[in-house]
């Protein structure tokens, strides 16, 4: 089975596996958060819905889930030392993903600052920050996965 997966190019380095896990966890955590908050609203205006507990559980749960999944998928891996180490290509792909992801963190911070100055409700400020965190994680990890499956862009 592993030979078939390897031939198909689906055997991954630790860093690529980590990117897939973080991408899946980020999408699942944000989807769960949205479902809970929309459920809490129950027809009322969204800004009146309870969100703080769901947001904290979503952030904490996604960090814990990513750590546990990385431990589970990393344990018992077979292959030589070359399948476990992190090399220069991993670092270059990591930098590309972080570079793309960080831009959304900055966008979220600037948006939240402007919204606070304009007197927006805390619900919207917290949610725009969380949305940009989620976008940062999703797009950063999508960029990493695409670079692993395809090639690194050369500017």
């Amino acid at each position: 089975m592993s030979k078939i997966l390897y031939a198909a190019g689906w055997v991954m380095t630790l860093r690529e596996r980590r990117a897939w896990i973080r991408l899946a966890v980020a999408v699942a955590a944000y989807a769960a958060y949205l479902a809970v908050v929309l459920g809490n609203a129950g027809g009322r205006p969204l800004a009146q819905a309870g969100y703080a507990a769901a947001l904290l559980w979503s952030v904490g749960g996604s960090v814990a889930a990513a750590v546990v999944l990385e431990m589970i998928t990393g344990a018992g891996r077979r292959g030589g030392a070359s399948s476990r180490l992190t090399d220069v290509r991993d670092r270059e792909i990591g930098r590309l993903g972080d570079y793309i992801g960080q831009s959304f963190v900055v966008i979220g911070a600037v948006a939240a600052m402007l919204m606070a100055m304009a007197g927006w409700e805390r619900f919207w400020i917290a949610n725009v920050i969380y949305l940009c965190f989620a976008a940062s994680a999703v797009l950063g990890n999508v960029a990493k996965v695409l670079a692993y499956r395809g090639s690194l862009p050369q500017w």
Binding site: T13, G80, S82, R89, S151, P153, Q154
Partner: protein, 77 residues
């Protein structure tokens, strides 16, 4: 602007010429992951100059026997 690499290589041929050396064995020799060797071999990743020299040393050949760039052969004459 994303540009495809113009660097080609003979790693696959050199591996087979060295007793069918596996990608994993080459990866262990130069200290990278097997996936990086695959990406270089398929032309999806251009290695650093240092890694290119390490690959050439692993095969015990000059670097220009491993990596090729269009136009470099005519210029060498």
């Amino acid at each position: 602007m994303v540009k495809p690499t113009r660097v080609t290589n003979s790693i696959r041929a050199l591996r087979f010429a060295r007793g069918e050396m596996t990608q994993a064995e080459l990866a262990d020799l130069i200290g990278v992951t097997r996936q990086t060797v695959i990406a270089i071999e398929q032309g999806r990743y251009s290695p650093s100059l240092e890694m290119a020299f390490q690959i050439a040393h692993a095969f015990k050949v000059p670097i220009d026997e491993v990596f090729h760039y269009p136009g470099s052969e005519q210029e060498a004459r």
